[in-house]
Symmetry: C3
């Protein structure tokens, strides 16, 4: 068991550096100095999908711009501010260089742009302050989870964005809408029958909703960015999205909620995290990851229901909670993790992005 855990820990951290080097040496790496600032920043958005690939980050930013150029600016600006704040405070270099200090701030800034009013000066200032605070929150979460050897995932973003969306109606200079959104959750209504065009739109919107956008072509572009970095990751993301749709349909979620991607976006992230990023990508872990994706889909209305009376939003809480649970549990299931490749075998080059604590 101890040996197996060692391997798991290695899957989290050990090979990352080597792979980063291997995949980046040709294009990015400058001797002694690490990647340039632009690469670090572009890796931020890519790390939302666990990819340390700057090209992927560029495609992601393009996808945001396709929805609204201001979203692209917020996303990239957030990643830049978060990375800069981490560098200023002296966070460990490997975290900064692989973009692990940029993806939470990217999501925070983007979230403020979408949920408040992207065009107001107050939103710009708040997003900038949020990027500074989320750097502190990230450092705290990394320390908090080191006890269990768990990666921070998007927990810092969930905490901060959650606090701001609940607190915002209490501040008149921030809140652009009239009244608070707080309401008691109600039972689902509306038809549960899914039409074919709803299915394929849901398939892509599950990906775009990771960035709070409900346009299918944004999702298609994001998925293309994932495939650009790794074919395996792209296939796993597709499996996750399909599992999300299937689970939500089987449980009887309203078709409208499946079609807009809000039911399945956590399934995509869980599938990626559990098959290839933090566990080896094998047939056994794929099944496990899809069980996790189904669980996250079922848990989504629970999180939404718990936060609704306060006016909160589910964000990626279901992904975070499900992935923590399934990662912790995996260490007690030797039949699952034991099937992976031995310590001598090569890790897939796209598993370079594990957002893992480092000293």
């Amino acid at each position: 068991m101890a040996e197996r855990e060692c391997r798991l820990v290695e899957a989290f951290s050990g090979r990352r550096e080597r792979d980063v080097r291997r995949s980046d040496e040709a294009r990015w790496r400058r001797p002694q100095t690490g990647p340039g600032a632009g690469v670090e920043v572009l890796r931020g958005p890519a790390q939302v999908m666990f990819l340390a690939n700057a090209w992927t980050g560029a495609v992601f930013c393009l996808a945001l711009c396709v929805a609204d150029w201001r979203y692209g600016a917020y996303g990239l600006g957030g990643a830049a501010l978060g990375t800069g704040a981490a560098r200023l405070l002296g966070v460990a270099r490997d975290r900064v260089e692989t973009g692990l200090e940029g993806f939470n701030s990217c999501l925070v800034a983007l979230c403020f742009a979408v949920f408040l009013d992207a065009g107001r000066l107050s939103t710009v200032l708040l997003a900038a302050a949020g990027c500074a605070v989320v750097t502190v929150v990230t450092a705290a979460v990394v320390r908090l989870l080191r006890v269990w050897d768990l990666p921070p995932l998007t927990l810092p973003y969930c905490l901060l964005a959650g606090a701001v969306t609940v607190a915002a109606p209490g501040f008149r200079r921030i809140w652009p809408h009239g009244d608070s959104l707080a309401a008691l959750p109600r039972a689902a209504s509306g038809p549960t029958f899914l039409r074919p065009e709803e299915v394929w739109r849901a398939f892509f919107r599950n990906v775009s909703q990771v960035f709070f956008l409900d346009r299918w072509y944004v999702g298609a572009l994001l998925l293309a960015g994932v495939f650009l970095a790794s074919r395996v990751a792209g296939l796993v993301a597709c499996c996750g999205s399909a599992t999300g749709i299937l689970t939500a349909w089987a449980l009887g979620a309203p078709a409208a909620r499946i079609a807009d991607g809000t039911m399945g976006c956590n399934a995509v992230l869980v599938a990626l995290a559990l098959c290839g990023v933090f566990l080896e990508a094998t047939r056994a872990t794929l099944l496990y990851a899809l069980l996790g994706a189904a669980t996250a889909t079922a848990v989504t209305p629970a999180v939404a229901g718990l936060l609704a009376p306060a006016g909160g939003h589910a964000f990626t809480w279901p992904f975070v909670l499900t992935t923590f649970g399934f990662l912790l549990a995996a260490r007690s299931f030797p039949r699952l993790t034991g099937r992976g490749p031995g310590p001598g075998e090569a890790a897939p080059p796209w598993r370079v992005s594990a957002p893992v604590p480092s000293a």
Copy 2:
């Protein structure tokens, strides 16, 4: 302090194996192979009350059948599925053999039967899926709490059942009732005077509500099952139930809520856990356990109030939270734990069931 903690840890884990062997050798134990599958499964329901006794488990299943034969089927089927899933995933044998992988799945399946509609196919399928997921959740919780040497108790069940009851109204194929149950908590109303027949009904219903049933004869049968395994455990359970009634009455809970057993069911479990299972059964720990039982009773409306706006249910959250707190604190109170028998003395044979993490 370190030595004392060792002893406490030993109380959690060390003597368990020996006692299991001792009490089971005559009847159950087959050499080399562990107990038969039937015994493992029957120990699941018994472990809800911390007892690794298959006869007790059989009595518990009988009690469920007395309320409704389907409840018995769900409970036993849940224990079987959870135990099977744990075996399939390769969970440590001692956890599976003592029934520790069966009690959370037993409660999950039973909870679905009671809160959703026991007769629908969707409930059966959901309960089966829930038993698989709760095995993963149990493994995660065991890892999570190992940091503090705490047992998982019914936390996995509380997490899963809580998520499903909040999420269920969002899924039209699952939810049999019309609208969501979410509502703002309201101040208590109704008389607080307890009539004698309400007192003794509450006494037994406090036990039956552990399994969500509010019939006093089910509680009496369950209590008989506890006495079957251990006279001390039975007496402690009675003290816990009485403390729950007394506390709720003293604080001014409405008589109707005391009489249906929802105020006191956590007190029974807390008393059992703190006097005899995880701490030695002494006069000092009995007082400590009854303080815990009173605390859990007072905390029950708090948990219910926190979850009410989301449509959630208190389940055994008050028991879990109170027991974690009192167990952690006990290690700082040498006057409390120091009075127990030394390491050389025998542990009572019914303390065989400590649901404790094992590698």
Copy 3:
């Protein structure tokens, strides 16, 4: 990094004993026996502001009496009961002697007096029981947080007072008001323009609201008590209060809520904790502490909104959560903590009060 952490840990615990001795030898310390019981008890209220100074505690009690003599009695009685319960249960002597076992029980008793009816017998009995239970909760929280080397702060009080305020409407003998206070949070309304006399009243009320009192002269008296123990602590508290007002105004909080001190009371505590108590008082940590104070102010309506539907109250939750986050994160920021004095230099004598776990 490891060395730096050592130093940080030392800042938490190591020098405390020495400083306690140094500052107390002249007046308080009786050889072999520790301080007298009166000093221990008076240090309880002072520890709410992280000060182990009995004179400060006496001034704090006087301030409570100025508001209402019964508040003073509850506060001092709570500190005495908590300290006594800890002594009875055999909690480590250094925790008891420095008043660390008295400040949570002081706040619990005072909170009951303010939120329930101070004149009723039921409130007195409940406060006494609460002081016993909070001693257990404190011991549990100390153990829980030892994993991260974090101090318990007012978390035990927040947990217990939070549970009681949510549960109280469910008990007819306790709840003096008519109906539950549970309500969905609403968007802020009212003017955001601050008049000068509102500013200076808010400045002092931010301090008095730490003890749930909204009279400015109580705050002034409390602040005088802080200055009595340490000039640096007093200045930091002033900076924290100013930051709270500025942040709340900049975000657009209603002037009425700023003026009554509920927006800024957490900022005072966060500033004290992060600049001088758990981190060295330097220019860098002062900036960090003020960022923390601003964060706590922004988080306050979030906590209030999350608890409002259950009828809960924010208490010092924002302070506790923000301080935990910023303390954990500080260990990853060498540029921040590295500027402090080296291990050989003297710590300021008023940093004697770190409420830190001890065995």
